[in-house]
């Protein structure tokens, strides 16, 4: 029974998201809207990695945008410059992300809290600097154009690309649910609670920190590749602060350490600026105030809001029934 519940909680959400996501293009006639939902998928993949790393394992990385750009640049350079095929460039770029994460993770993950945040932030800054200044290799500020994807002479359309991104996003959410539903999730959460206590209980702290850091880097790289394909371009801004700000905003709005916070946060962060254009020059102020309100009144983000609402509704529904039952019992 418990296993059935676990499987249902693992698969139910992603299946529903896949179903809704599959219907979305049928409601859209504009490529612009399709671009928005594609970006939501990308940010969800990116922030799911961050959620696993920080939300579940408590290891803060401010360098996710570096891996996001590394994946995008690696993929583009392999495809456009080295002439590799998509099927070779994609896994190779992800392997590059994993190897770099492993190399910098071994020394960096000995650090904790803000020291780790600062050290990983440096990685992002270094990558942005290299991408901007190694003009012959990276194209400098102008970046590089990403060729359209072709399979057997067929150019992948925006809608097909969206479906691929949707599938990827759902697989990433499934992977996250699998991790947090098993002993791996408990090991990660024990790191977040107290590393010493976790170690005393037999959790290999160093190994788990490294594993989750590499996984989050690979997911960031995957999101970067997807972003390069959607934007048809890669440039140093992939590794700059707007991406990091988006990650942190999604974490605040969606909720950390929750299964679907990344998706909910990504929806808000991508769609809200489009809606707020109606407010003209006040849009930035309104956006900032909304974020402040989120922090003050919804510290667990949108993910925290839904269970609270659900519990309240349930309490309201149950209360009259209990009252009626008690009244019935009181009758002679």
């Amino acid at each position: 029974m418990k296993n059935a519940n676990t499987v249902r909680s693992m698969l139910g959400g992603p299946a529903l998201i896949l179903l809704i996501g599959a219907l979305v293009p049928l409601l859209l006639t504009s490529g612009f809207h399709l671009r928005l939902v594609s970006i939501i998928c990308i940010y969800t993949i990116l922030c799911t990695g961050f959620n696993l790393l920080y939300g579940y394992a408590g290891q803060i990385s401010m360098g996710q945008q570096g891996f996001f750009a590394l994946g995008a640049y690696g993929f583009t350079l392999l495809m456009a410059t080295a002439g590799w095929s998509f099927s070779a460039a994609l896994p190779a770029a992800l392997v590059i992300c994993a190897v770099v994460a492993l190399l910098i993770g071994i020394p960096l993950l000995r650090l904790r809290s803000h020291y780790l945040a600062m050290a990983t932030l440096c990685f992002g800054l270094v990558f942005a600097g290299v991408a901007s200044r190694w003009i012959e290799f990276t194209g400098g500020t102008a970046g590089m154009m990403v060729p359209s994807l072709k399979f057997a002479g067929h150019i992948v359309s925006r809608t097909e690309l969206y479906y691929a991104l949707l599938l990827l996003m759902v697989l990433v959410l499934l992977l996250q649910n699998f991790i947090v539903s098993t002993h791996m999730g408990r090991a990660l959460m024990s790191l977040r609670g107290d590393e010493t206590a976790a170690q005393s209980l037999g959790v290999n702290v160093t190994a788990w920190k490294l594993r989750i850091f590499v996984l989050s880097a690979v997911l960031a790289g995957l999101a970067g590749i997807a972003s390069a394909l959607v934007s048809r371009q890669v440039n140093p801004s992939f590794s700059e602060f707007p991406i990091l700000v988006s990650i942190l905003t999604i974490a605040v709005v969606g909720g950390l350490g929750t299964r679907y916070g990344a998706l909910l946060g990504a929806c808000v962060v991508v769609i809200a600026p489009q809606g707020l254009t109606a407010f003209g020059e006040s849009e930035t102020v309104i956006y900032g105030v909304c974020l402040l309100l989120f922090l003050m009144f919804m510290p667990h983000g949108l993910s925290g809001l839904f269970p609270t609402l659900f519990r309240r509704l349930r309490r309201k529904a149950v209360a009259p029934a209990i009252g009626a039952a008690q009244a019935g019992e009181a009758k002679p």
């Binding site: 006639t29 490529g31 612009f32 707007p242 109606a278």
Partner: protein, 410 residues
């Protein structure tokens, strides 16, 4: 400064579309625009609240003046021009998304904008994908127009053109010992390399070149080394805030040699922060206030938006809009619009921009023209384009430079 956005009847956004986007529902009603009798839509996408807001706002104001002129004269063949404006906030992803919104949902005929380089670059693939003309403004990274992008045009000068103009001035004024100092960002390093090459080609010695981090608060070591090299002129390639620090440190260390600062000193931020340390500095500009039409433009600008110093930014928006508006009046474009063929109209606008490639706008010296062609999508020519202005009144004003006093030892 930008209240006109709400005041002018032609500046309209589409809140209903916006809220549909928020809810992600009822999205299927956005059909292609029917142009007969409808306003002609132009999109302006730029940073108007981020770090480069000064440039974006000024260019947008110039853009609005051009559109107002046409609308006040009855429009184009009776059709009014409508402006759809978005603030990209220096965020490349957001800027690109707004550009795609212009191309798809708004049915715009062209996109204008792009002062900071990264967001400007992010719109290039959108222009190529949707085949919509995109006129980029002051983004100066040299290789932005190197990539094959048939619908992308650059209205402002390249960084290397600024650097070459400065080198030419320094050589012409008889300076022999040049010191270069630049920030470590691509703008600073690229411009310094370009200036060094141009100076060497003119037989001028670069006695020292210093690079500093943009966030460095103390520039005494670099300025000290500059002073030790005993240059007869200092050329600075900074951004706004760090440029002010360079000028103040030069003043504090008693270096009173002539100074030339790149186009970033056109921004009031740099001059406000530097105060009297910026007085006497020369800046390359593309606006010649000796021209009557330029003076008239800045009078109109001042009357509508308040006083503005004669910099390239308002003029870039104005010139870009004028070129597109001229293209809109072309028979090919009108024919495509009459047939409700948005894609054909965009192609016809692109072709008209190329055909009218030698357009004479407000940038450049008298008689200079843009040089767009089928192969060349970078407008400003290498010659007869730059005019130097000098900073006066504790950084408050820019005036035509008196080159007779800009000599070694002055």
């Amino acid at each position: 400064m930008n209240n006109a956005l709400h005041r002018d009847p032609f500046v309209v956004r589409t809140p209903s579309t916006t809220w549909r986007a928020i809810l992600l529902c009822v999205l299927a009603s956005m059909g292609s625009a029917t142009w007969a009798g409808q306003p002609l839509k132009l999109c302006y996408v730029d940073d108007r609240s981020g770090v480069a807001a000064d440039t974006g706002i000024q260019s947008f104001n110039g853009f609005q003046i051009a559109v107002s002129e046409v609308n006040d004269a009855g429009g184009i063949n009776g059709q009014k021009v409508e402006v759809v404006a978005y603030d990209g906030k220096t965020d490349p992803e957001l800027t690109a998304t707004f550009a795609s919104r212009c191309a798809e949902d708004d049915g715009a005929l062209a996109i204008i904008g792009g002062n900071p380089a990264a967001p400007a670059a992010a719109m290039i693939p959108i222009a190529s994908e949707y085949e919509i003309p995109y006129l980029m403004l002051s983004a100066g990274t040299d290789n932005l127009t190197d990539m094959p992008a048939p619908f992308h045009f650059r209205v402002g000068p390249r960084n290397s053109q600024d650097a070459a103009a400065i080198a030419e001035l320094v050589a012409k004024q008889g300076f022999k010992r040049v010191a270069l100092i630049n920030n470590s960002l691509p703008f600073g390093t690229d411009s310094a390399h370009a200036a060094e090459a141009a100076l060497k080609a003119s037989g001028i010695t670069v006695v020292i070149q210093q690079t500093y981090d943009i966030n460095a608060t103390d520039l005494s070591p670099q300025i000290g080394r500059l002073r030790s090299a005993n240059p007869d002129v200092v050329i600075v390639f900074p951004y706004a805030a760090d440029g002010a620090r360079v000028l103040r440190t030069l003043q504090q260390q008693g270096m009173s040699v002539p100074r030339v600062v790149a186009r970033s000193a056109l921004l009031s931020t740099l001059r406000d922060l530097a105060g009297d340390a910026s007085d006497g500095v020369l800046i390359p500009n593309t606006v010649d206030m000796q021209r009557a039409d330029v003076k008239q433009f800045f009078d109109s600008y001042g009357a509508r938006f308040g006083e503005a110093q004669p910099t390239m930014y308002p003029v870039l928006g104005y010139d870009a809009a004028k070129m597109v508006l001229k293209a809109l009046a072309e028979p090919d474009v009108q024919k495509a619009l009459a047939q409700d063929e948005l894609a054909d109209a965009r192609v016809a606008i692109r072709d008209a921009l190329v055909r009218n490639g030698n357009y004479q706008g407000l940038q450049g010296r008298a008689g200079a023209t843009y040089q767009f062609s089928a192969e060349r999508h970078h407008g400003p020519p290498d010659q007869n384009w730059f005019v130097f202005v000098a900073v006066t009144d504790k950084g408050k004003h820019l005036v035509a430079a008196d080159l007779s006093t800009f000599k070694p030892g002055s």
